[in-house]
Amino acid sequence: MTLLLKATWYEIIKIASKWRTYIGFITIAVLIPVIMFLVRMYGFGVQDNALNSMKDSFMFVGSLVNGLIVSYFLMNVLWVHFPFFIVLVAGDIVSSEGAAGTFRIWLTRPISRFQVITAKFIATFVYTAVIVCVFGLLSVGLGILIVGGGDLFVFDKGILILSQGEALYRFLIAYLLAVWVQMTVASLCFLFSSLTSNSVGPIIGTYATLVVMFILSVLKIDALKVIHPYLFTSYFDVFFAPFSDPIPWREIAGDVGKLGIFIFVFYLISALSFIRKEVTT
């Protein structure tokens, strides 16, 4: 256990020592303040977009735009765009070492292959969690700071108005779920990474899989409904579930469990593949 913890810590050090790790953080750190400033200056566009479907039935007085609603809209990048930052690291974590031959030295130590792959998986999870949390903190925090706080209006199957305190609580749950969703992407990329010896393949492979699965899961064709439960992208919207009233805990638990099965299966295949992996050439 101690060895596993040490190996995990070293994996985190390795991730932190690579330039590519910071691409995601730098992008988020630059993009979010820019968006928030733009919204503060030209916020009505977002408001119009949100109220478009409601303006025939309701009359709104004053501005509904605040940092929370912008953060809520920003969560949409978690679908397809954000996974890029995840695969950038997850795609490299096993394959690059396979190509560089560094496993040879590690595996002459008392550590087992299973511990090595598990340490890498945990480190990937840590990176995923950190980058999603940084995204959430910056998005919500800078939103409140730059655009301003207030109640959160959620327009989905009606209108849900959440007080700022309640909204922050919902954001917390949403981002925890987003970590889990992104971890599914990371584990798929991790699997591809353990099967190849370069990091480009896993990145492209994961993205291609993600896009194809999204297309299949959004198409409302009866024939495709049969396969929807087997596509992990069908459960990706779970991080929007906390913005319903009441929070559908049962549905969330179901989706989290299903995503957990995907994560576990991807990890298991990665581990089995790594145990048999040729590391000597």
Binding site: Y10, S17, L107, P110, T280
Partner: protein, 618 residues
């Protein structure tokens, strides 16, 4: 993507004058004549330019002849891995020989090799065929006897899932993925005439007729008669018909379901000179054949069982061949038996890749799993060995691959942590031992190969191991680097009392470094023991003699029966004689009025190795 038409004009290859003075020898000087042969006499660059078109960009940094030249030189120097070739390309003399502006890194080399499609492989085969024909023009053969080409196939098991590997019949490891290459050897010159690399699930004789047709194009001239010899895997109508069409001879072992029945029906005739051997000759037409062919059978009596039998039972070894040769059956049988030599070449070709040193070390370190056999570590069976036992071992497997983006200290800290905890002070100690203390905080990226190798040794001694396993630690190092590593190894063994298990093909290095040696050939342990004891026990000695007229001395000594072998090189006579005959040699030289400058007995491990494996002494 464009087809690159190689234009060698921009590359200027400067001729190098090798220096062979007493004090200085140009590094890799032996490659100068090879380069001359390859580029000037064979015109390798033109051959590649005319026949090989890889789907690569036109703005490539390295030309194909430079890459393939490096691979050829690398193989000549014993390199088998891309990283070795990269190291070799860092040598300035080699860079000048190949006209390289900078070293070729292993990724570039790997990428170019990956461009090889089936079509490119075929094109490359045309290049080798073209070069072979150029060499063959220099041959002179006797036309009295047919020149023999042996066909055979071999199975090479692989780990992982390399491209083209497939599960098939693999006698050494059932179920393992493998390749099943097809090979043709030219007996006269012991050259591999042609090869096909096929997946492991291919049957031996698949495509043999087409393979034969390609071989024919590579034969050195059509003025001679040819005999194609093959085992029962090649017993097929298509191949035999193709050979007949070429009007060549064949000798192929028969493989038939009803062969025993067929042979039992024949009339066997005895051979007067051999009491236990009989033969038969007959014609037989197998299913699908358009005409019958000549079969020759030989049976050798193994034993006669009389006990418990009403009549004595004769147990024979049967051999049956299909052939169009006119020779006597016994001669045909012996001609086929000579084919065993071909099998040895195939083994040699396969095992040139490795005698089994690195594989042994990888198995010991559980980097790969053994397919059979067993070993124990510190008295524990390897299957039951706890991984904690590896805390007692330090290892460096081939290339020292560290995290280049981290400092040496950080790399060592990680490995120390994984070794079960090593005090921080120890990291400074080992860095001091390998003389890297002043560069400890620099990124490994900035290290030379020799420094990385020393860092590799540093990591292997981090946890005060009882044994250090080093796999070819001097690989790719310049002479100074080799000396440094040798001294370091001797210091570790001498000052710190660590047992060092070292693998190398540099026997001179082994002799200078090790107290005990185990020689592995083609995966088998040939001999092991104390180096000095082994050399003392052997009755094989080389004596180096310097006299005033070495040519005359050599011609006189060659006539003496008590001298086993005499060779003359650089005015030094190398005489192979038993130790007890050395005084006689001195007397002989003095009596024949030679002015003897020196008589130095020399028994090197290299000589011992070559004698042991029946290879020629240089």
């Amino acid at each position: 993507m464009v087809k690159e038409r190689y234009n060698p004009k921009p590359i200027k290859i400067n001729p190098i004058q090798a220096e062979f003075s007493d004090h200085h020898l140009t590094n890799y000087a032996g490659l100068i004549p090879v380069t001359d042969f390859l580029f000037r006499k064979l015109d390798f660059i033109k051959a590649l330019s005319d026949h090989l078109f890889l789907p690569i960009r036109s703005n490539i940094t390295f030309h194909n002849f430079q890459l393939f030249g490096l691979i050829i030189f690398g193989y000549l120097g014993g390199s088998t891995r891309l990283s070795h070739f990269e190291e070799l390309s860092k040598d300035r003399i080699l860079q000048r020989l190949l006209g390289l502006g900078k070293p070729i890194d292993e990724n570039t080399l790997g990428r170019r090799i990956k461009k090889f499609t089936f079509k490119s492989a075929h094109q490359f085969s045309t290049v080798t065929g073209y070069l072979q024909r150029k060499v063959h023009r220099q041959y002179s053969f006797s036309s009295a006897r047919p020149q023999i080409v042996d066909f055979d196939s071999s199975v090479r098991g692989v780990y992982g899932s390399p491209e083209g590997a497939a599960r098939g019949f693999n006698p050494k490891c059932r179920g393992q993925k493998s390749y099943h290459p097809l090979l043709a050897f030219f007996t006269k010159t012991k050259e591999c005439l042609h090869t096909w690399y096929r997946p492991g699930n291919t049957y031996t004789g698949n495509g043999a007729a087409e393979f034969f047709k390609e071989c024919v194009l590579r034969l050195p001239g059509s003025d001679f008669s040819w005999l194609f010899r093959a085992d029962s895997g090649f017993f097929q109508n298509d191949l035999l018909s193709a050979i007949e069409e070429y009007q060549a001879s064949y000798l192929v072992k028969v493989k038939l379901r009803n062969l025993n029945h067929l042979l039992s029906k024949q009339t066997w005739q005895s051979i007067p000179s051999l009491t236990n051997t009989e033969y038969c000759e007959f014609e037989h037409q197998c299913q699908g054949w358009t005409a019958p062919r000549k079969f020759v059978g030989i049976r050798i009596l193994k034993e006669i069982i009389t006990e418990g039998c009403l009549f004595p039972q004769y147990i024979y070894d049967y051999h049956c061949f299909v052939t169009n040769l006119e020779e006597a059956p016994l001669e045909i049988y012996h001609l086929y038996k000579d084919r065993a030599e071909c099998e040895n070449w195939i083994e040699a070709v396969k095992n040139q890749i490795g005698a089994g040193k690195s594989t042994t070390i990888r198995i010991l370190l559980s980097l790969i799993k053994p397919t059979m056999g067993e070993f124990s570590f510190f008295g524990q069976d390897f299957r039951k060995t706890d991984r904690n036992v590896y805390a007692k071992i330090g290892a460096l497997v081939e290339k020292p691959d560290f995290y280049l983006f981290l400092s040496a200290r950080r790399n060592l800290q990680m490995l120390a942590g994984l070794s079960g905890g090593v005090p921080a002070k120890r990291i400074d100690e080992v860095l001091e031992i390998v003389k890297l203390a002043d560069r400890a905080d620099d990124r490994v990226k900035s290290y030379s190969h020799g420094m990385k190798q020393r860092l590799g040794i540093a990591q292997s001694i981090l946890n005060h191991p009882e044994i250090i396993i080093l796999d070819e630690p001097t690989n790719g190092l310049d002479p100074e680097g080799i000396k440094e590593i040798r001294e370091l190894i001797l210091r570790l063994a001498g000052d710190f009392g660590i047992t060092i298990f070292l693998s190398s093909h540099l026997l001179h290095e082994i002799e200078q470094t090790c107290s005990h040696v185990a020689i592995i050939d083609t995966g088998k342990l040939v001999v092991q023991g104390n180096v000095h004891d082994l050399l003392r026990k052997t009755d094989f000695y080389i004596t180096e003699v310097q006299v005033n007229n070495p040519q005359r001395a050599a011609s006189l000594l060659e006539k003496e029966t008590w001298i086993q072998k005499v060779t003359l090189g650089n005015d030094v006579l190398k005489i192979q004689i038993p130790a007890e005959n050395r005084p006689r040699l001195t007397r002989f030289l003095v009596e024949n009025e030679f002015a003897v400058s020196s008589i130095i007995p020399r028994t090197s491990l290299e000589d011992y190795y070559l004698t042991l494996l029946n290879r020629d002494v240089k």
